[in-house]
């Protein structure tokens, strides 16, 4: 489905320096029983945000009032595990628009891009620097510009550029979805089916 356009963002960030965060942590399986895309934000990192008693786990960063914002900084290999797109929905519905990590798992990365959630890959040194900046000053606003493919921390000399596939960049800048693109080429798809040589 289509999503909001994303051109640039100025926001504080939430640091989550844990590596190998898998999609079972992002959205536990018991929340996948929904038949509609609703309420996933409430269950983001459910088993880390809440104790078994349903009290908030005060040591988890999302429950720490110091940190807030639409940017999530996460340790390497973010989103590994299941293909559940619900993980990207949960992150987006909670309010994040960008995840910055030093490494993304493949399926999660695709799911994020397909939902207008921007996964930005930086080097581990750059990630560490961002984490330190935010820990030192949780109110620091970070500027992300998709058009320029840049991340800037104002009033510092921290500036980096990131890679993104140019087709996906166009889609996210304009809020286009792949579904419509594919619908517009149905006649080419039918021709492919007719031309196929396989006999079975």
């Amino acid at each position: 489905m289509s999503f909001e356009k994303f051109k640039n963002l100025k926001s504080t960030a939430v640091p989550l320096p844990i590596e190998n965060i898998d999609t079972d942590q992002i959205i536990p399986a018991r929340f996948l029983k929904a038949v509609e895309r609703k309420g996933f934000g409430d269950n983001l990192f459910r088993d880390w945000r809440y104790e078994k008693s349903n009290d908030k786990n005060v040591s988890f960063v999302l429950n720490d009032e110091k940190y807030s914002g639409s940017i999530l900084l996460a340790g390497r290999n973010f989103g590994c595990g299941s293909s559940r797109e619900h993980a990207a929905w949960a992150i987006y519905d909670y309010g994040f628009r960008v995840v910055v990590s030093s490494y993304f798992a493949d399926i999660f990365k695709n799911n994020a891009l397909n939902n207008g959630l921007l996964p930005i890959q930086v080097t581990s040194e750059e990630l560490e620097l961002l984490m330190q900046t935010v820990n030192a000053d949780p109110n620091k606003v970070i500027e992300i510009n998709l058009e320029d493919q840049s991340i800037v921390v104002p009033e510092s000399d921290f500036e980096l550029s990131f890679e993104i596939n140019s087709y996906k960049k166009e889609c996210i800048l304009n809020g286009y979805d792949d579904f419509s693109y594919l619908q517009n080429m149905l006649s080419d798809i039918e021709k492919y089916e007719q031309d196929r040589v396989a006999t079975f």
Binding site: N20, D47, C80, A105, N110, T199, F200
Partner: protein
């Protein structure tokens, strides 16, 4: 002339359009769907006023949410019941074949597809489930996708994907005693890590692979995703053709002859170059077991947990699992044994388990869930007398479903309890909040089930 790999041959011949500095539009031969990742896709399709473009290429099953006991009764959990009913409604509306709870071929999607000859060499196959890589065992390019992509396939029978790079993993040599293909893949992941395959599609090769049965190949390819790869495949050969001959949807008669001829050409060219290669010796591989909270944290069952790793995620994993650096796993008492899942829920897996437990008794401290991957597997187990062997040893066979692999149904491991599981993921809370999962082969699971502690199955033969 360009020399290409098997993966290239299948991928490249399915490209409908190459987008400049963007993904390929890839045609999909087979779309498997299940009740968890399809409802929102169907809902969106309907909002757009569209129908599924190629229902005849779409196959549906219900497996993640369903109970594994009393399947003839209405599902107790209301949300699970709603999801299952939604799938029934959607399949009826779009004229899609559905293997529902009453169907004689009900089962886990990645078990029934191959069983029914719905997966064939050279196909491109997708499903909203990461273990779709299983079908690669038959020489297909098969991979998991998200719900938005499920929607795209519904609407156009195509998907947009960046072509992964090519990785070769070859294993040569004779397998050691009590080693299964599950141990091979756990060993590989322990060597290259749970992110070592990200961005790649793997071809598994080598004589050790050639000597695996089709079901053993499926267990191996199933876990390709656990090292981060998009998928993994094995070139078709006589084992593949023998497996497929006569299956319900396999080509018949003249079509069969033609098909085998074409499938025989599906192999990597001798001079083709992969982007990355790993080579292993089967002599180095023993029965494996995981000790941590990702599938890469595994050791040979006779080894000790590593001592000299210092990073936080390693320490946190050990803390969650209640293990210490440098300790042995052998002899550790466990609580649950789960045999099943799309990884190891087939007849050969049940045979292995039964052979080891035959004449022995389930240990007092163990609760065991033995879950066949499909109704066909269940019937075969009954026919072969495996059920009697299991019952004599104090085990019982449940009904098919994904069950405790991800605990979406009632089969949940309680907090803090140890489970030896033939499934594919040991993440924190995967089998239930606080559950501690040790991934292993059906033989390691059987050994634990009869001794009550982690035991090397090689010692019990």
């Amino acid at each position: 002339m360009e020399y290409t790999t098997l993966f290239d041959k299948i991928w490249d011949t399915h490209i409908v359009r190459k987008i400049e500095d963007g993904p390929n539009v890839l045609y999909i031969d087979r779309h498997y769907i299940h009740e968890v990742t399809s409802p929102v896709a169907f809902g969106n399709l309907e909002k757009r006023g569209l129908k599924v473009l190629r229902p005849e290429k779409t196959v549906a099953t219900m497996d993640h949410n369903i109970p594994t006991l009393d399947q003839h009764l209405p599902i107790k959990d209301l949300l699970s019941r709603a999801q299952v009913q939604q799938l029934e409604k959607n399949c009826k509306n779009h004229n899609i074949e559905l293997f529902d709870l009453k169907h004689e071929n009900l089962g886990i999607v990645h078990v029934i597809g191959p069983e029914l000859g719905l997966t064939l060499p050279g196909m491109t196959i997708v499903c909203g489930d990461s273990h779709t890589s299983t079908h690669g065992a038959l020489g297909a390019v098969a991979f998991g996708i998200g719900t938005s992509e499920v929607e795209m396939v519904f609407g156009s029978q195509c998907i947009m994907q960046t072509k992964p790079r090519r990785m070769l993993i070859s294993i040569n040599g004779k397998m050691n005693k009590a080693v299964t293909s599950k141990d091979l893949i756990l060993y590989i992941i322990s060597q290259i890590s749970s992110s070592g395959g990200t961005g790649y599609f793997i071809e598994f090769a080598g004589d050790t692979i050639r000597n695996l049965s089709m079901e053993a190949r499926m267990s191996l390819c199933n876990m390709s995703i656990e090292c981060g790869a998009r998928g993994g495949l094995i070139a078709p050969d006589q084992v593949t053709f023998d497996y497929l001959k006569g299956r319900e949807n396999s080509p018949k008669g003249e079509d069969w002859e033609k098909a085998v001829k074409e499938w025989s050409m599906l192999k990597t060219d001798d001079n083709a170059v992969f982007d990355k290669e790993y080579h292993y010796d089967a002599a180095d591989i023993l029965p494996m077991i995981t000790y941590g909270t990702n599938p890469g944290m595994g050791i040979r069952i006779t080894d000790r947990i590593p001592e000299n790793i210092t990073d936080d995620s390693f320490n946190n994993a050990l803390k969650y699992m209640g293990f210490e650096k440098g300790q042995t796993i052998l002899g550790k008492a466990v609580d649950y044994v789960f045999v099943g899942s799309c990884t190891n829920g087939r007849i050969e897996d049940l045979r292995m388990f039964a052979e080891l437990v035959k004449g022995r008794r389930k240990a007092e401290n163990i609760t065991a869930w033995i879950v066949p991957g499909s109704k066909a597997v269940e019937k075969q187990a009954q026919k072969e007398g495996l059920v009697e062997i299991l019952e004599a040893a104090g085990f019982s066979l449940r009904q098919p479903g994904c069950s405790a692999c991800l605990a979406m149904n009632d089969d949940k491991i309680p907090p803090g309890k140890y489970s030896v599981s033939t499934s594919n993921r040991n993440f924190e809370g995967r089998q239930g909040p606080g559950a501690r999962t040790l991934l292993a082969s059906p033989l390691v699971a059987a050994a634990a089930a009869v001794t009550g502690v982690i035991t090397n199955p090689a010692d019990l033969f």
